[in-house]
Symmetry: D2
Subunit: 143 residues, 4 copies
């Protein structure tokens, strides 16, 4: 049984992302998650910007984050992303944020496919089915 | 059995909060949640800025949001907040975002008390115990 | 000679707007300026969201800010806005950010009118001409 | 006469940075400028995070941007930065944002050195004098 493909991006902490506690404000992790899934889509040859131009939106319907340690300005962190669940009409991504090997945060986002023209739910774009199945691995597939 | 006190703030959608999908970017809801819990603290006479000056930080350890409908620039939404769980060392807030009566999103954040000087976990500031218990209502208290 | 109408909005500083220096990050003042000009448009009966729906965009082509004192979480500030220059195809707004009477920052933004459908420069929407002239006062008008 | 050293960073446009106009919201360019000057400081062996730890803050007192073309999600842009004026107590950086060779925006920020402990103006940290003079080139130096 093969697990999902884990893709990774490096993120440099921005000064503007910190708050007066001296660490990155927690809302910014959702933005970093988005960077990681953008890179995951691009990695299989289907940049998300292209998917949107073809009339599909991957709407966020749920977002979850757990925070263990704060990231600081001057650091670079890695955001690891993988497809956690893949269905025809919805999917979920999972995330880990690491500084070196230290785990700073974990997360999960849930999404549905929507048609851009009218905002109605739809199925995954046909050209994504094979590449996304390859990314998801066997565990994420329905029986 | 009395439930928790529900406090409400009104938020005007900012142009900068929208994204190219034409609705508020999902990460901004965490910022709105924060506005609401800031107001909840202030409502019981203990502004959070004051709590921090006294050496306590209410660190976010978990954040969750579910999105049903997008908020748009030009709209005003209401964010309702209440204490969902109250313990000596941690607490949780729950949220609803509404446009009129329509429910746009729900959320929950989990927090621990930390000492500002050294970042160590600590108990709730003594002067908050009574007011937070009054806000939490009986359901949120331990048996 | 009548000067421009000065309109004012109150803004509560958000925790997420602070940075590790302990004050509001300077980029957020541009977002506050935007809130103020949104309110100025609404004050003359033409909400900017409505103007966009009618096919016009008021694109930012220049933005300037001078910072004197930092705003802090827990404070409320006032952003004063007025039309600084009004022409058929472009206009400028000026801003002051105050905490009580203390001046925290000043700013100016320059804009051109653009057609939403093709991004081409255009003239001010006809229905805005009279209300914007009234807001601008005599000084801002061309000879 | 040698001009200032031009340093460059590449920035990937984030979805969260776009607004409902479909391009990057103008306030985010100030955040990009900050990324570029962070990299410029690091390039001469003095990361800004390190400078702050030594007790100095490089406070922003002025920020200016001119916008020509919008950057879009899915694009990578380059931000070029150089020291535009160097004095003992203040300095200015200038910026260009480019997509390929196309100029999207230009900017300038003005700064003063401040002591972290009390917020008082001070002189440039001694260890930065030589490296910053080397970066600034002859044109930026006082007569």
């Amino acid at each position: 049984m093969s697990g999902p493909v884990r893709h990774e991006v490096e993120v440099e902490v921005r000064y503007a992302e910190t708050d007066q506690m001296g660490v990155v404000h927690h809302a910014n992790y959702l933005v970093w998650f988005e960077l990681a899934r953008t890179a995951l889509c691009a990695s299989c040859g289907h940049p998300y910007a292209e998917i949107e131009r073809q009339g599909y939106l991957l709407m966020v319907v749920g977002a979850h984050a757990h925070y263990r340690r704060g990231a600081r300005y001057g650091e670079r962190v890695r955001v690891v992303v993988w497809i956690d669940r893949l269905r025809t009409r919805h999917l979920a991504f999972a995330y880990e944020v690491r500084r070196g090997e230290e785990l700073l945060a974990t997360g999960r986002t849930e999404h549905v496919w929507v048609r851009r023209e009218d905002g109605r739910p739809t199925s995954m774009p046909p050209e994504l089915r094979e590449p996304f199945r390859a990314l998801a691995g066997e565990d994420a597939l329905p029986a």
